[in-house]
């Protein structure tokens, strides 16, 4: 869990994204219990209603589910669903932005793919 950003973006969305990151990166495995709304509120020093809104958004998307009287849990299959969702966002958030910036600088698609290959060979 990282810090919240004070950039005017709704806090409940940031809370939901942090839970999503924790699920995708394996810190919150499927069928594990998610911290309570009050724990989120205390940790991030936010209104409990805001924390609840973020958590409930993920309940509505069936990423989390509620066990009555016990708390919230990560649904089975949540990770795959989230990864698919993030892949779609990846195109908008990163690919489109990158290509627009490249066009502004006169970088061709071929040069771009060369850069990606270079990055890959540096990594290995």
């Amino acid at each position: 869990m990282g810090l919240l950003r004070d950039d005017g973006r709704p806090i409940f969305l940031q809370i939901a994204e942090k839970i999503e990151d924790d699920i995708i990166e394996g810190r919150l495995p499927e069928e594990s219990q998610v911290p309570s709304t009050n724990q989120f509120a205390a940790f991030y020093q936010i209104n409990p209603a805001t924390a609840a809104k973020g958590v409930n958004m993920l309940v509505d998307q069936e990423i989390l589910y509620k066990k009555r009287g016990i708390g919230m849990f990560v649904a089975e299959g949540a990770r795959v669903v989230l990864i698919e969702k993030r892949k779609e966002q990846f195109y908008e958030q990163y690919v489109v932005t990158m290509i627009n910036e490249a066009a502004k600088l006169g970088i061709t698609t071929r040069q771009l793919s060369e850069m990606i290959s270079r990055m890959e060979s540096n990594e290995s």
């Binding site: 005017g8 009050n38 205390a42 020093q45 209104n47 805001t50």
Partner: protein, 303 residues
């Protein structure tokens, strides 16, 4: 959590005005404060925050309008007196009393007073029980008020600038305690502050008071969604500069930045034109709103 939601407003004011020897401090203020929520009361200096809180607590009488607690007038209403705790930024009538006597007084006044919690808070804040209120530092006076406001566990708690004179460490402690205690004992809290940046995330609702009138009462997120920075090519954006939705505008080397207040119907079109749209942090938004209203009221004066 309650199973049924009670829809009678716990506390509301309807067209309330208050005049002090010729000066109108509050004018036609109308708002209904949602139950079991933390409300932020924001306004510039002299906007009428403190007067509104006095009115809501029933401690002064309005010149016009109605203030209702559970549907009944708040003034001289014993139910309201026992269930509304108003923490002023300074308590003039407390000056000669020692902290421990003030705590005794609170325990008699408030039916839900939590003595154990009060003692825990007194220790946390390291308040000297034997010292008189008037001999406490500004910050310590605020802390006595905070102990009273939290330990009274009143259905309605009004805090007027509770963090006045507190250092950053103590303010953080207060925010943590407020969140913790509110989570465990949900109730209606209305808090006025000028430290908007650091307290914005505490508020579920925001009430904006400008020149004595409540101009906005919205859920924090809806409030924030009303405002956007639009930044991009000046030739595109300067066309909008006369629009009444524009709160603020600045330009630098062919780039213009606007603050837009209201619905943004043509968002897709703006993005397509290369306009960057970003949210506005609450503190900034508050400044832009205040300046805009000041400017428009000055121009009214000229006319």
């Amino acid at each position: 959590m309650r199973d049924t939601i009670d829809t009678t407003p716990l506390l509301e004011c309807r067209h309330v005005s208050k005049q002090f020897s010729g000066t109108i401090a509050v004018k036609e203020a109308t708002a209904s404060f949602e139950r079991d929520a933390i409300h932020g009361l924001l306004g510039a200096n002299g906007a009428g925050k403190t007067t509104l809180l006095h009115l809501l607590s029933g401690q002064i009488f309005q010149t016009q309008g109605d203030i209702l607690y559970e549907g009944y007038p708040v003034h001289e209403n014993p139910q309201a007196v026992a269930n509304i705790c108003f923490v002023k930024s300074e308590e003039r009538s407390w000056m000669d009393y020692k902290v421990k006597h003030l705590m005794n007084f609170c325990s008699l006044l408030y039916p839900h007073w939590d003595e154990e919690f009060a003692n825990e808070l007194l220790r946390t804040f390291r308040l000297p029980l034997g010292r008189r209120y008037k001999n406490l530092s500004r910050g310590m006076q605020s802390l006595v008020g905070i102990v009273r406001g939290l330990a009274s566990r009143c259905q309605v708690t009004l805090f007027d600038e509770p963090t006045l004179g507190l250092d950053a460490d103590m303010r953080e402690t207060f925010y943590d305690l407020l969140i913790r205690d509110f989570s465990e004992n949900p109730r209606t809290i209305i808090l006025s502050t000028h430290l908007i940046d650091e307290s914005a995330k505490l508020f579920q609702y925001i009430t904006l008071i400008e020149q004595g009138t409540i101009t906005t009462h919205l859920e924090t997120e809806q409030f924030m969604e009303q405002a956007h920075y639009l930044q991009g090519n000046s030739s595109l954006l300067e066309r909008l500069s006369e629009d009444p939705h524009v709160l603020h505008q600045e330009s630098l080397a062919g780039t213009t930045r606007l603050v837009w207040w209201g619905d943004l119907d043509n968002r897709e079109q703006l993005i397509h034109q290369g306009i960057d749209i970003q949210p506005v942090p609450l503190q900034k938004l508050f400044v832009y709103l205040t300046r805009k209203r000041l400017k428009s009221s000055q121009s009214e004066d000229v006319i």
